[in-house]
Symmetry: C6
Subunit: 268 residues, 6 copies
Amino acid sequence: SGADLENLVNEAALWGARVGHKAVKMDDFEAAKDKVLMGRERRSMVLTDEQKRNTAYHETGHVMVAKFIPGSDPIHKATIIPRGRSLGSTHFLPLDDRLTYSKSYCEATIAHLLGGRAADKIATGEPTTGAGDDIKKATALAKKMVCEWGMSDKIGPMTIGDKDENIFLGKEFGRSNNHSEDLTKLVDSEIRNIIEEQFQRCLKILSDNEPLLQTLANELLNKETLTGEEIDDIYQRYLNGKLKKEEKKQKSKSKKPQDIKDNGNDKS
Amino acid sequence: SGADLENLVNEAALWGARVGHKAVKMDDFEAAKDKVLMGRERRSMVLTDEQKRNTAYHETGHVMVAKFIPGSDPIHKATIIPRGRSLGSTHFLPLDDRLTYSKSYCEATIAHLLGGRAADKIATGEPTTGAGDDIKKATALAKKMVCEWGMSDKIGPMTIGDKDENIFLGKEFGRSNNHSEDLTKLVDSEIRNIIEEQFQRCLKILSDNEPLLQTLANELLNKETLTGEEIDDIYQRYLNGKLKKEEKKQKSKSKKPQDIKDNGNDKS
Amino acid sequence: SGADLENLVNEAALWGARVGHKAVKMDDFEAAKDKVLMGRERRSMVLTDEQKRNTAYHETGHVMVAKFIPGSDPIHKATIIPRGRSLGSTHFLPLDDRLTYSKSYCEATIAHLLGGRAADKIATGEPTTGAGDDIKKATALAKKMVCEWGMSDKIGPMTIGDKDENIFLGKEFGRSNNHSEDLTKLVDSEIRNIIEEQFQRCLKILSDNEPLLQTLANELLNKETLTGEEIDDIYQRYLNGKLKKEEKKQKSKSKKPQDIKDNGNDKS
Amino acid sequence: SGADLENLVNEAALWGARVGHKAVKMDDFEAAKDKVLMGRERRSMVLTDEQKRNTAYHETGHVMVAKFIPGSDPIHKATIIPRGRSLGSTHFLPLDDRLTYSKSYCEATIAHLLGGRAADKIATGEPTTGAGDDIKKATALAKKMVCEWGMSDKIGPMTIGDKDENIFLGKEFGRSNNHSEDLTKLVDSEIRNIIEEQFQRCLKILSDNEPLLQTLANELLNKETLTGEEIDDIYQRYLNGKLKKEEKKQKSKSKKPQDIKDNGNDKS
Amino acid sequence: SGADLENLVNEAALWGARVGHKAVKMDDFEAAKDKVLMGRERRSMVLTDEQKRNTAYHETGHVMVAKFIPGSDPIHKATIIPRGRSLGSTHFLPLDDRLTYSKSYCEATIAHLLGGRAADKIATGEPTTGAGDDIKKATALAKKMVCEWGMSDKIGPMTIGDKDENIFLGKEFGRSNNHSEDLTKLVDSEIRNIIEEQFQRCLKILSDNEPLLQTLANELLNKETLTGEEIDDIYQRYLNGKLKKEEKKQKSKSKKPQDIKDNGNDKS
Amino acid sequence: SGADLENLVNEAALWGARVGHKAVKMDDFEAAKDKVLMGRERRSMVLTDEQKRNTAYHETGHVMVAKFIPGSDPIHKATIIPRGRSLGSTHFLPLDDRLTYSKSYCEATIAHLLGGRAADKIATGEPTTGAGDDIKKATALAKKMVCEWGMSDKIGPMTIGDKDENIFLGKEFGRSNNHSEDLTKLVDSEIRNIIEEQFQRCLKILSDNEPLLQTLANELLNKETLTGEEIDDIYQRYLNGKLKKEEKKQKSKSKKPQDIKDNGNDKS
């Protein structure tokens, strides 16, 4: 309705101003629209401890999946300091400048992206809207694998749904591109299979190594940012079985990893 | 036809003027179009007692669903004083500024939205056009849960139907996005399930607590606006079983809650 | 073909001029196009007695359905004096300015709209193109009930097919809106059920009270316009059983109501 | 290809010039396009006798169907003198200026349109491209009967496929309008049934009265134009059984009606 | 990719220059695009003997089908001298300027068009891209027969898929035009049947008269252009059984007709 | 999201600059978009040995398929020196300037295109994104074979899905072009069959001659560019059985062909 429209524009302008945009951008509209749908007005930028804790688990999910999948690029840092619309982020440090990517590298990237949602599910039992962007990227990548890069064995080296457009004249060359229902179904199913397989891979990595998930999330919550070296250090100690012993020592003087949920407020 | 078109434009201009628009807006057209379809000319803004009573029930529906679902934000106020096209409204007071929302929070918001229609059904036995906007928002939210935020377990963390558009060139990057009939059917069914589940939740809350529905609607009809404190007070007394006893005392000196339907006119 | 196109433009210009349009409007094109399809050239505006008689039945259909459905707004007047493209019309006098409409009110409005076609069928046994506009409005209303206002119990409080458009950027926010064949079929069937139910309701009202249909149509044909009071008077007398007796008295000095079909030409 | 495109433009310009257009029109393109598809260059405008004969049968088909269907408007004239792209035409003289048309009048109009093709089939055994325009109009009319005027009993008084467009904003109000496959199938089948029924009606009229078809076509071929009076005269004589006797007398001094096929060239 | 795009533009510009276009045309893009897809750069315009031989068979296919189908227009000439993108062509000499075409004439035209491909198949056993334009025209014609000219008995005199567009307003009048899957299937099947039937007719004509195919192709290869008279001469001699005897005489001093495949290079 | 958008624009600008574009092109966006999806920042242009090795296999795939399919044009050169977005390329030297292509030539071209992906699969066991462009071209070619050039025997000489567009008016002539699900399915299946058949052909050629694949890839990796003569030399020696003997001699002083995977780094 009209009132909602006004809300939407106002919200978008406020978002734009806050993140330093000179003009209202598409992105600001998207943020504002979610707000209006939820029927809530934006107040201050003070994050609750619950949000910080959830973000710590989410970023740890990205980090751990990358550490456990061989051939992943090294992690530069992970942080829960919000920037723009994002409550946290994990940065990678690619070893080289690739022009082409292998199928397994594509799959690993999808897994990295879905690691956050997998951690949400394991740590808090509930998905959040925060993983929307990760899901969008993972889906786009899976779609390209199937439709553009011929990485589905069932479909083979064939392009699906390409528009065959003439860029100069702004219209298609000749033929329309509707595929049959049978082929569309196969494409949908191949994309879903890639997504599902990588998501199960994430869930397995995180649930098989839940102590590390707790330790890393706890550490990230305390320090707000972890460098690749710090992450690697914790990861190596965990792998070497050292983690377990150190945990026992620390248990007397500090809180337990699982305390993170209830005692979040006594940090800072 | 042409005559209808003239009506439509005139109605839209009148709406625009009344709600203070400098130019005729899309919103005004929508309002005018419903009028023309109904074949009625707009007269004065005097509301009938029946409309006020129905609005009181409708707003009470929003209020009660929010009170009974744990984790809902506090209510700021509820009112049946009309503003713009809306006969009444319920305002919330969010505890914090969230950037992400959990699945249960999304479900609760859908329930708040559908609470009005649920109250209409229980109190007057008949749906009205007034819930159209609530339904639109609830559907948009359910759709985002399934298609954007990966909150359907049957579909998983996968984006559905995204346009993959190039904003600068104003057209899509490459591929069209038609999904198979099977997947479309699953999406439709998941969205409907979310809506249906939350609507049943509303109906249960309201029918299990019909005395409170009557009391709150009656109170809202008398005072036209109830603050969050006033609502909370009535809610707490009802929960503490005090409501029942007070009702009995009041029955001798005032009208019964169910009288609201017939005696609406004796309020000033 | 080209010749047809010329006809079309000429016809449209003539229509526009006749109904006082400064520029040719869409509406004029529609009128002209039907003419061209029929292969007939427009001549004078003299209506045949048959057309007047059919119009009298048609308007009486609108009137009677409104009189027999409780909660309908009062009728202001009914007329068979042509205006613009319309051969006659029935005007209502709404009791109040509603912002929302109940499901039963929507159903009654659909019935009022279909009353004309129902009368055509009963009185002349044959549908005409004249009911096209009524049918269009009734269908649009039934569609809104199902798709926008959540008034179908089988579908529930869910919006169907909304475009989710960004008005400022002139394009959709993200997702396409194709529904599955199953849901589309259910929507079609719910809309058809509403239309069919109200049309049967009209047919029943009119055939159960055919003497009143004949009396009212006859009266409308003689006077060309009937006020709400005149209509109400005839309606009340019919209901009180007075009509029957008066009919018998009048039979000797005037023509019988059913004569209307054959003796239409002896009115001045 | 490019060469074809050049042909197309040249042909279109030639057509436009011949029929007196200042600029090339859509219509000219259509004519030119058929020429190019056929791979033929246009030469002179001299018609063969075979074409004249076929046209005489075609126009007679329109005339006879109109004469035998009660309630058809009188015929003004029929001619086989070519004008623009048309080799002949039949003009009607409507009795009054109707604003609405009955279902039976619509059906009769469809029959008049299909009468030409029916005559082609009976007289020459072969359809030609010349009936394309008649078929287009008949189909458009049958479609409007079903989708706009509610004249299909199986579908009822319901609008199908209307766009619900906002003319000022140049886009649709809200909802898309896709119907289910089931309803679309029913609509297709109802339209086809109307067309088929009227075409069979034409075939029956013409084959039951083939002697009149031969006489009228012969007369039209000789005189090139027949007035309504001349047509009516022949028709009445045929009906009165006079035709048969006159035929026998004329057989000795002139050619037989069926000679038209073989002796077309001996007329001046 | 970008490099391909550059190739495409360059190729198109070269094509345009060669065929004398002042600006790059759509047609040039099409030619260029096929080149780029094939991954080949254009060099000189010297045709191989194999291409000339294949073209001779192809044009002979067009010629023979026209000679053997009664009612075909006379042939003006056939040539294998390339012009523009076309390696050869066959020109007809229509007897009169028709405004309408019979069904059998349409079928014959489709057969003439497909004669080239049929000859390719019989003479070289392999289809080439050169018949693309013939196939496009034959399909467009078959489609018009079924969808526009009512020439399919199974569908009847009904227009399929017409857009019903308003040329002045640039948009459709009212209704969308989607047909049911059942009708679309029938249309596809009727179009395919017409094509298939005419293609089989071509194959039969050519294989029943393969000696004539060899003789005509050989003659065309030697002279590069054959006039209608020359073609007719060879055709008549073949029919009169003279061909056979002359062949025997010539066998001693010249090469056999089937030698054309292997000895193509010894012609100057 | 907004941040991604900024990344996308920046990446595109960088790409454009590097490959010498004055303005950002579509192509640059595509490259940038893949980068952003992968979540990697571009660094330097130093290629890893693994990438060079994989490229060597890939180009060898193109080369070998062309050598083993009779009638292929000669190879000009193959190189693994990157240019633009491409890591390597294989250039052909067409013998003549063809205007038409036979079916077998089209099939061979598809095979040449898919040879790279086939080599990836055999040599490294894993597909990469690098074959995306080859797949796109092969699919477009297979589609043209089926839909434009009538090269599918099951469908016959019929154009599928052509738009029948009027270039001057910028819209379609008349009819829409939706095909039935049955025909669309057949088209999809015919295109897939062509692709699948040629891909299997590639796999067979490469696996039947794996020693040559190893030799050629090794040679290409060492010299970075191989001329057509050098390739032909190796190919002929392999065919003459000489290769096998020479290999044995060289084994003592140089590395074995299969060493290429592990010892890539010891080349300068």
